[in-house]
Symmetry: C2
Subunit: 239 residues, 2 copies
Amino acid sequence: MPVPCDFQQNALLGLLPEEELSRLLPNLEKVTLTLGQSLCESGQQMKHVYFPLDSIVSLLCVMENGASTEIAVVGYEGVVGVSLFMGGETTPSRAIVQSAGQALRLKGHLLKNEFYRAGPMQRLLLRYTQALLTHMAQTAVCNRHHNVDQQLCRWLLLSIDRLPGNELIMTQELIANMLGVRREGVTESAGKLQRAGLISYHRGRINVLDRPGLEARVCECYGVVKEEYDRLLNHNSVM
Amino acid sequence: MPVPCDFQQNALLGLLPEEELSRLLPNLEKVTLTLGQSLCESGQQMKHVYFPLDSIVSLLCVMENGASTEIAVVGYEGVVGVSLFMGGETTPSRAIVQSAGQALRLKGHLLKNEFYRAGPMQRLLLRYTQALLTHMAQTAVCNRHHNVDQQLCRWLLLSIDRLPGNELIMTQELIANMLGVRREGVTESAGKLQRAGLISYHRGRINVLDRPGLEARVCECYGVVKEEYDRLLNHNSVM
DNA sequence: CAAACTCTGTACGCTAACGCACATAAGCCT
DNA sequence: AGGCTTATGTGCGTTAGCGTACAGAGTTTG
């Protein structure tokens, strides 16, 4: 993933040719996303798509009994609302702001217009959607085969990859909801990481101190997902 | 999912208008898929896409240590090889024939030509891909929250939905690979279902005796996936 | 027919994660 | 300051699934 020099831009939009982008820009509206805000409820039509800048959005699958699991996460490298151009209009999953910040918002029908021009924007959105497919698939495997320690590392790395700094505003309770495990399990795993000096946290603020250390502990799932985003979304491959 | 009157056709292709289909037909080649055959290896370019007729293909995520999990399954309702038109060309997952049978094969570049006409075929393939997204997402949740009993029911129902009869040729060992659990775990769960009179099996042949009974035991994941295929792939919504 | 192999059944100890119950501590509010 | 809420730590007993080992029954092969 090509890290933009400043996070005032969305990497997906950054891959578009000048003229494409300039046609789009007047319609992009900068909005502030607040922690916990819902961008998409299960089965509901979305009015906009969102290109996060320094915010992070979780895609969650929520079950009847309220239990939930994060199936993918979207930051400056992507867009929230692929179901709009994929044709289904709605999706059974939810999109919740996991880290407050800004995003560029675009009206749904405008995005569809762009998409149906069948130009660079379409190619880009489709490649992004494929990366999302891999992200979800790997999440499914990780849920099956890896323990909470490894999954927490994966989650932390995927999250700070999408943030400008090393700090995450997120309680252990919320992380547990994302991973679909007990809060106590997160407490325990996070405690290990803290004692190992890899992170420090305090009442809903997590700081990553030793990124390479986390990478040494994480399962292969993180690398698979990251490489797939890198492969599918870079200047050489897209344009 | 509109069950075709006979399984000699692929439901996805069946949704195409006459003229679209007739343009395609000369290039569709009927092939026989054998149990265990690989249609797509991790990271390898696919030469063809496959529209299963009475065969079933599993999409698997395989890990470094050889452990695997099925992330979705494709039968007469779908197509194997979405990465070709999504732009990525390759994918990190594998496609393995889970139930032998026939499929229609189409050269990759021909499918791409069809796709880039931006007509009904494109709309259809994109809607199918969105259904696949939901399928994967729900698999991820199910892996996290449901026990082997429930997952086996889900797997059995999703499989026979894609077959003409009630019989499945599949050992417990292979089912275990699909679900990403131990073979002994499948033996135990399958034993419960057999004692309850819902299925009967014998050395690699499973017969579903009481479909409603299975539906009563399955977790919500099955219904979510099935309804999403129904919603996204029917005549009213597509054309 | 006998041997080899495949598929299924069963048992047993082990571990990760669960559900629950509380304790502690830090921040917030009046 | 004192009380409330929120976040984290900890300690149970319980359970689902794992790894391993092995037995028996069915099928294929030589």
